[in-house]
Symmetry: none
Subunit: 163 residues, 2 copies
């Protein structure tokens, strides 16, 4: 029987317990962590404590809740820590995404996909817009935009110009 002991908030103990289950694999990704009622009975606490513990795991990116279905494991603590990080990582991922988008038309050009080329182009424009906004977000937080991540060339005349 899982039990909470005094000396530390109950919701933190429950969060640590569930976090350990996720890290050890007893709660694999995609598995439901159990409903609020089940966790209440398991740890012998009120609904408030259970929801607060689950909410903490949700903010950590470990679980995700779906109304009417349940709360499911989304990632392990290691995965979540790798995903987290700074805006720099986000910028790098976005740059990779843009590079792949620009590579698509060349691969699909040998086929009769010209109609879909416009769709791809639209996707590229949207990604380029996202990157532009990300650059602005950089300036607002006072961080320098990492190395020579250039603006998209073929999709527009957008120039990344930072102070």
């Amino acid at each position: 029987m899982a039990v909470v002991v005094p000396g530390k908030p109950a919701y933190q103990q429950i969060a640590e317990s569930l976090r350990g289950d996720i890290a050890s694999g007893r709660l694999p990704v995609g598995q439901a962590v159990g409903s609020t009622a089940q966790l209440m009975d398991r740890f012998r606490v009120s609904s408030t404590v259970v929801r607060k513990a689950v909410e903490q795991l949700r903010t950590e990116g470990l679980v995700v809740g779906h109304p009417g279905k349940g709360v499911f494991v989304r990632a392990t603590p290691e995965e979540s820590a790798a995903e987290a990080a700074t805006i720099a990582d986000l910028a790098a991922k976005l740059d990779d995404l843009r590079a792949q988008l620009e590579a698509i038309p060349s691969k699909a050009s040998n086929d009769k996909l010209t109609s879909m080329g416009k769709e791809i182009a639209e996707l590229r424009r949207q990604v380029a817009t996202l990157q532009t906004h990300l650059v602005e977000l950089y300036s607002r937080v006072g961080q320098p935009y990492p190395h020579g991540l250039t603006a998209p060339e073929g999709t527009g005349e957008r120039r990344i110009r930072r102070a």
Copy 2:
């Protein structure tokens, strides 16, 4: 009079309001944000909503609470944005988006184009979701979204022409 309107959770609205006050300097670092009772009277909500809003700011690292004294501003959103973990969501969605982009060329080679059209539609939906999260990221920083793109409709090109 600060008032919460329906359509969005009250605790989120209050958190955004206080976050904006911190970002604008109306609540400088070291300043008390006001007791729970004061915020209850100011926003006309229950103690639960106030505590949940303050708790969110605390998890964001903007404020720090001292029992018996009060809750005080710890850092500005810009300062806290560097180590903000709220970007984890954005990074995860970018990973999913990139994974689907990698799957496109293979599908174009050994599959029909009909399924590829659905893939493109799904991609566009995810890019739209990404934009939404970027808007949220802006709000967390305390700055309004520069505007120019909202939800995607049709294939109409959106032109981002901001100063």
